[in-house]
Symmetry: C2
Subunit: 357 residues, 2 copies
């Protein structure tokens, strides 16, 4: 594949952030981006690296009206030996293509996307921060661009990847979060788009998150849209519970996102010989375990935070502590193991890590 | 309110469409658009009419990632006496603000939006077609514009209105459509965004619509996400059934859009002394009525088509005819009455029509 490259002259590159310990998340972008076009009849074409800059889009572009969109989120790390690593990038691109299928967006060849993404990261590798917990966040996105006000699949799309240095998700370390069990709002129902990574899922989640923040909670625990009992996800993470020695997470029933971190945690726990289940738990099960003292740990999993320990669960006016509000041993072990593998510092028994540069 | 106007010189206006009987829908746009900005701390400000033209948006603009968006759809008509009329425009703008609330977008003052919209329509009034069944389609939209990759409410928004001449929705007259009862995919669940007019609802509907079209059906009949029995909507319309003399539509339970046309049909039928109910019907009720010969009519309601008669319903491999596949008497009467009121040609007992110019 031929990726055309239009690079900025060296003396016009933006200054890199001076303080790698204050990068924040999702606010700083690098000098270049990757673009590729789709047109019915022509297919995906013209992959190219260009200077990062604004899009020019018709006000009738379908993305603004009908939300035909998918995205992904992954990271590149400056790891062992100064090399650039990515963690299971093919898993994200395969998921992007499954999202495309649900959203009626024409699939992209996995190999082309991976190669183009690596190329962009090689171009931008000086942007990858080196401070502990930092990385280069990578955001592949596809938007419908046809200018047409009628609900239908678009005839044209833009695929793009933007990247930016991001900080440690936990500015002050690994702090257990307070979560709110959401009984009013719903994230997704089976038969909907919950297992796709598409903008509408996030738009619909804002109201519950806003109300939970106002009440002092960090994240929302989503329940099944129909039984309003079965556990789904927490915020934008998958969720795990350790109850009486068993590590449990919700099954991929069609309404939750199949997280890459979730899958990695399952693989590691099985590898370690733990008792692991993908099975439906209800909020009543969780509360009962908390009361019985068998709720040993709870944690969210996702690319941004890797592991996010849950300190307490708020349900029907009552707070239930998890692991005395401390970070549990399994949470810590998983965090160390996964970040170690990501940086090429620990053995990689599953071949998860790709050396990009 | 002061609406700044930057108008194109007369000799640079686009040519109006030559053939008003071939306007199609949603492909032709007028010379100008209305814009207004929002910024946290500053509120909504700077309403202005400008030449229609592309937006310049950062690739990280939140609309491309998290879908924080609402829109509306209404029409302006060239009616009786050559005046320009709109039909219940305040109902659409009030609905837009309810959608804003669900999507955590700051509300706009109804009066400001109405005035700005009328102003734009007055500027563009030469674009309003005169052929039967044609109108100027009006699309208010709000998009999140902050450049930030993090799921949160945006700090900046763009409100805009674009307009364009549209044709009769039924090129060849008032043809009953074949509908497919959707059992696999779901449009919205209670607690989700189904009652808001937001892009994600339309994105999630594309897959079912595409599969139904491939099987030869025009529209999808959506069922309740949980019981998979209760009737919700049809395509992007509300749905009515006439069974043994009773006119029935689904109640506004939180998962369907509260259509302005739906509300108008309810008001007219009640005004005519008909037996009208907003109550939950199941697909089994409908099939039973079809078998018993009491399913007298079925029709969709929406701004684009006004009334769309249903000719047959396909459920579990079987086609059930409605009203012998013909357009029913009530469908016709409602279509004539509503379009008559919209054009200022029939008495307007409810004060629905606004003379804009
Ligand atoms: C809704 C949702 N669930 C779960 C996850 C975790 O997925 P991953 O581990 O692939 O980052 C994410 C983040 O991508 C998400 O947005
Ligand atoms: C999902 C949905 N349902 C119903 C309707 C009908 O609403 P209205 O009559 O206000 O056009 C629309 C169109 O706006 C719609 O998009």
């Amino acid at each position: 594949m031929n990726i055309a490259k239009t690079l900025k002259p060296k003396d016009q590159l933006k200054p890199k952030p001076a303080d790698e310990n204050n990068l924040g998340f999702g606010r700083i972008f690098t000098d270049h981006m990757l673009l590729m076009d789709y047109q019915t009849g022509k297919g995906w074409h013209n992959p190219r690296v260009e200077p990062y800059g604004p899009f020019t889009l018709d006000p009738a572009a379908m993305i603004f009206h009908y939300g035909q969109e998918v995205f992904e989120g992954l990271k590149a790390y400056r790891g062992e030996g100064g090399h650039v690593y990515m963690f299971r990038p093919a898993a994200n691109i395969e998921r992007m293509n499954r999202s495309c299928d649900r959203l009626c967006i024409p699939a992209l060849p996995n190999e082309v996307v991976l190669e183009a993404m690596y190329e962009l990261i090689r171009v931008e590798q000086d942007w990858i921060p080196r401070a502990e917990g930092t990385s280069l966040y990578v955001r592949p996105t596809i938007i419908a661009t046809e200018a047409c006000l009628g609900v239908k699949t678009s005839a044209t799309y833009l695929f793009y990847i933007i990247t930016g240095p991001v900080g440690a998700y936990y500015a002050e370390g690994f702090n257990p979060v307070r979560i709110w069990v959401e009984e009013k709002y719903v994230r997704a129902a089976i038969g909907g788009t919950g297992e796709a990574k598409t903008s509408g899922n996030y738009a619909s989640s804002l109201k519950a998150a806003t109300e939970a923040h106002e009440k002092g909670f960090t994240q929302v625990l989503w329940l099944n849209a129909c039984d309003r009992q079965s556990i789904e996800e927490v915020g934008t993470m998958n969720i795990f519970f350790k109850i009486a020695g068993e590590v449990i997470t919700s099954p991929l029933d069609g309404s939750i996102l199949p997280g890459v971190t979730r899958d990695s945690v399952l693989a590691l726990c099985r590898h370690w010989g733990m008792n692991v289940s993908e099975r439906q738990l209800t909020i009543d099960d969780i509360i009962a375990a908390a009361k019985a003292g068998t709720l040993e740990e709870a944690f969210g999993t996702g690319t941004a935070a890797v592991i996010s320990p849950v300190g307490s669960i708020h349900f029907k006016g009552q707070d239930y502590q998890v692991a005395d509000g401390q970070t549990g041993a399994l949470s810590l072990k998983l965090y160390d193991e996964i970040t170690g593998i990501q940086l090429g510092k620990k053995p990689d028994p599953f071949g998860w890590v790709v050396k990009v540069a």
